[in-house]
Symmetry: D3
Subunit: 131 residues, 6 copies
């Protein structure tokens, strides 16, 4: 038995990629990412919840808010890193996991966090990490 | 190797929640839930199917039909229970599983059932149970 | 030449309908409505905008926030009124129009406002009013 | 009687806005735009078409291809112009209209072109121009 | 002031096209069409409705049901006609209009009917006819 | 830790089914399938990728292109096979897996491939195979 709860936000950034594999995406361009954060648990709490959806949404907005309306090429956190859709899933997923371990959602018993970023209507990436 | 088939229905209900964590959702309100029921199998049957989509759809409509256009606060089945999105996933998933075990879809060899309820375009929950 | 800008919110309410035509929806039930508010103009302003999307979003959230997490059957504004999807489009559209005329979006030159409410993935209604 | 045909593409760009109204979007950031181009006609041609969908798609890809994977702040065409979602609708719509008038879709009898750009799942803009 | 109500169905057919413009679509192939039928009115009725959504849905299902799971190349109604997406919008729209004029939705005061058929996530067509 | 990348294409085919279970779908009809191909890996490569999205898209288009605009009843590959949505997921998934093993995406370290086909807005199927 597995339960999950997902909340959606979005993120608008500029960036460029290094490496021939990226073709025209080596130029400075940008993206809107739809960001789906999924919280998994083996059981519901006494309120019938995986997590408090209000706190989950606030936490995701906080993490996404630290990235949005920026040129990721200028962010020290991403120096030397290609901020691919896959990589940004990991960044957001790991930041969520760290905050959950630090108690940002209270005393929850989550088993995993998954993050999906949709870069367009025809491409998306995901990352899942155990807690 | 895993196969799955998913059918979608929807459900319109009223309810309220008990507990400070729910904030304004403690008031009587309601929701449209998009209900996605997924049937999993390790192999396809002789017709090339996980399950007969017609029977799967009828079964889901039957279970959803017993819930829709109701105030869940007044339903004896949910006395003392917060009918959160996560909980309703479980209710529908367990009812589907019980009906499948009772032969409602015929002699099928399913490994699991998963149910996802979308409460809006920015929030959804899931429940998966092995068969 | 016509320009428009649309912002999306959502709304979760309980209500019931009076009249045989409504069948089982005469019972107390509820809905999530996706609310799309469209602002139309014949030209863009000096910033290249129909309206400031931030102010438009705040205005829509304000109007939607006065309705959400409520049982519309108990709201004095709707006494004796069936709060159908069509009617709620009109309520939200007329409230937006009144606020725009009162300057809530500043000195804008809008020609019309349209509101669409999606009650499920298979049904929606719209209302358009000239300004 | 009105007919229309719509084709969808997408576009990934970087840009920034000038003006206090834009708040954090004054910083260099970016967007994925889903681009819907609609061609309108009063009647269908002898093949039963508004336009040849293949040629319409090629034309839209050609126009979108000249914009994508770029920093619009560096494009001479947009010097001194805020490349808002509304404005980009107009740019793409006017370029489509000019190409249609020049025969890019053959001898068609279109009455209007409309362009919608979705900047996220919660905001989009449109532009319609008569032919 | 304009009101509208839309209901969605779907349709699965085989067909082929005649004419070089259709390229590989001259071969027998098929499509799922999402069918959106929109009913427009200048005012709501005493129940607060454009039309009874139940009757509207039944009418659309009836018309769509006469087309679905068929090879349109074999249907006498379409002899010598390319059943393009645009043309099928017109067929369904005109059948809806005829049935509405014959009282299939009761004594309604509709001003127009519009039909949109989505042939994929990247292409759709529409037809609108006054009543 | 799991990463995945998904790309979407579509496919338009005619076919019929053999077996009473299929009801009216025993007649020749057709479908548009939205085809989502997911590539899974335990780690990202040096470029920050699961796979090169350009090559992944080309590979999927190549496999889908060999099926589209055809009557699957006439394809030797499917003689005696019901080309159900589930079965087509497997066909596309196995073809992707074979091509990946043959190096079509270069020297990648994928753990699994999953394919989802949406046959309409209310039904879809999936297949996942380990690599």
């Amino acid at each position: 038995m597995t339960f999950s709860l997902t909340v959606r936000e979005h993120l608008m950034i500029a960036h460029s990629f290094r490496g021939d594999v990226f073709g025209p995406a080596q130029r400075l361009h940008g993206a809107t990412y739809l960001v789906d954060a999924t919280f998994r648990a083996a059981a519901l709490d006494d309120d019938g919840l995986v997590v408090d959806i209000g706190r989950a949404g606030d936490l995701l907005r906080d993490i996404v808010g630290a990235l949005t309306y920026r040129n990721l090429d200028d962010e020290p956190d991403f120096a030397g890193v290609n901020t691919t859709t896959e990589r940004l899933c990991q960044v957001i997923g790991d930041r969520l996991a760290a905050r959950v371990r630090d108690g940002a959602l209270g005393d929850v018993h989550l088993t995993a966090i998954a993050v999906t970023l949709h870069e367009s209507h025809i491409a998306w990436a995901s990352y899942e990490v155990a807690l």
